[in-house]
């Protein structure tokens, strides 16, 4: 029943988009000879996810992941922001099992929930989940209210407190809006891997399509014990952990 509603919804949106295209009448998007074609919209046939194996992931690996993310997305160079104001799209966290006292190091970022609390609370629909499961901030709609930051159980979002220049060409960022891990959507859409996954040479971080039975991540999740952080919240995260 739920499935049907969803399809209905998609159908309706497609119709709506089509009519928008006709309103801007006479415009055909093919122009320059060398112009690449637009890609098709993403669908829910895929769901992108990541599996992080805390046993295999060294502290150095985590630092590499953080550095790769900063390098790719251009955050971390803020000069006027202090302490908590600084952006942190991906963080190194230590978790201690209260019973066994065992400490593991984790890389924690947006968990790309299927039921994202940030999307629920956003008053402008800026917080959004793409059909393929990637949770983003549509900064064009973000008014900087930061409800999403309070709603996120993973403290995964940051707010830009200062004017920025010289951003990465593929990652516009600016004062007064919220930002977080985009799962390197600009790379994923080109068929590439997120920068953090690429930065780790072992298979401690696996990125892929959770729904594809032939994918490495799907098969590994089937075979090893894994967990979601704060699984009790039933958010069905796209980022999973093993070895904790």
């Amino acid at each position: 029943m739920k499935e049907l509603n969803r399809r209905e919804f998609i159908k309706n949106t497609t119709v709506a988009t089509a009519s928008v295209a006709t309103v801007a009448s006479g415009i055909s998007l093919t122009t320059f000879a060398a112009d690449p074609k637009e890609s098709d919209p993403v669908t829910n046939e895929k769901r992108w996810g990541m599996l992080i194996d805390a046993n295999k992931l060294s502290e150095v690996d985590i630092d590499d992941m953080v550095n790769a993310c900063q390098e790719e997305q251009g955050w971390g160079g803020e000069v006027h922001s202090t302490g908590d104001q600084k952006s942190g799209w991906i963080k190194k966290v230590k978790v201690r099992d209260t019973a066994t006292q065992r400490v593991s190091n984790l890389a924690l970022m947006c968990q790309h929930c299927e039921e994202p609390p940030c999307v629920d609370v956003c008053p402008t629909n800026a917080s959004m989940k793409r059909e393929d499961g990637i949770v983003l901030v549509d900064k064009h709609r973000c008014i900087g209210c930061r409800y999403c930051m309070m709603a996120c159980p993973y403290d995964a979002r940051s707010f830009v407190h200062e004017d920025l220049t010289d951003q990465k060409e593929h990652m516009p960022r600016g004062k007064g809006t919220v930002e977080s891990c985009t799962m390197c959507v600009h790379k994923v859409d080109k068929g590439e891997q997120p920068a953090c996954a690429q930065a780790v040479s072992s298979d401690a971080v696996i990125f892929g399509d959770l729904l594809d039975p032939t994918s490495n991540i799907h098969q590994t999740l089937k075979n090893v014990q894994s967990t979601q952080i704060r699984a009790d919240l039933n958010l069905n995260t796209g980022v999973r952990y093993s070895g904790i």
């Binding site: 415009i27 122009t31 993403v42 059909e131 549509d138 064009h140 004017d163 920025l164 516009p172």
Partner: protein, 134 residues
Amino acid sequence: MSRLLIVLLSAMLSITAAHADHHIPNLGEKANEFKDDGKKAHKREGMSHAASLIMQRKMHPELLSHKRDKTLRQGVRGGYTQLQKCVDCHTSVDKNGEHIPVNAPDQFCSTCHEKVGVSLDCFSCHRTTPAEDM
């Protein structure tokens, strides 16, 4: 009565004509190369080049906002209207070979806007010069 109408009409026409050759914005480095190569920028299928340029002039805000929603919310990438591409073509280079931000005074994305009193917030986030490795 009809004479008055003609006078009015021709007055309006001359205003538009004056406006048309009046605004010759600083096209930018790559755009100038493009034009000098005899290529027709912004040419749309089934439309003359002149009409295509008018379309671009009039419709670029709509095209851009339509495209930004499609890119962000549906993951539609590539194609013709990408803000970074406008920047890549329409930025100029100063005496020292450094790129000038496309929204700086007298640069392509600001001349017309100053005239019509529009101010954009796009470039508080979007890069104002071509990508580093270009």
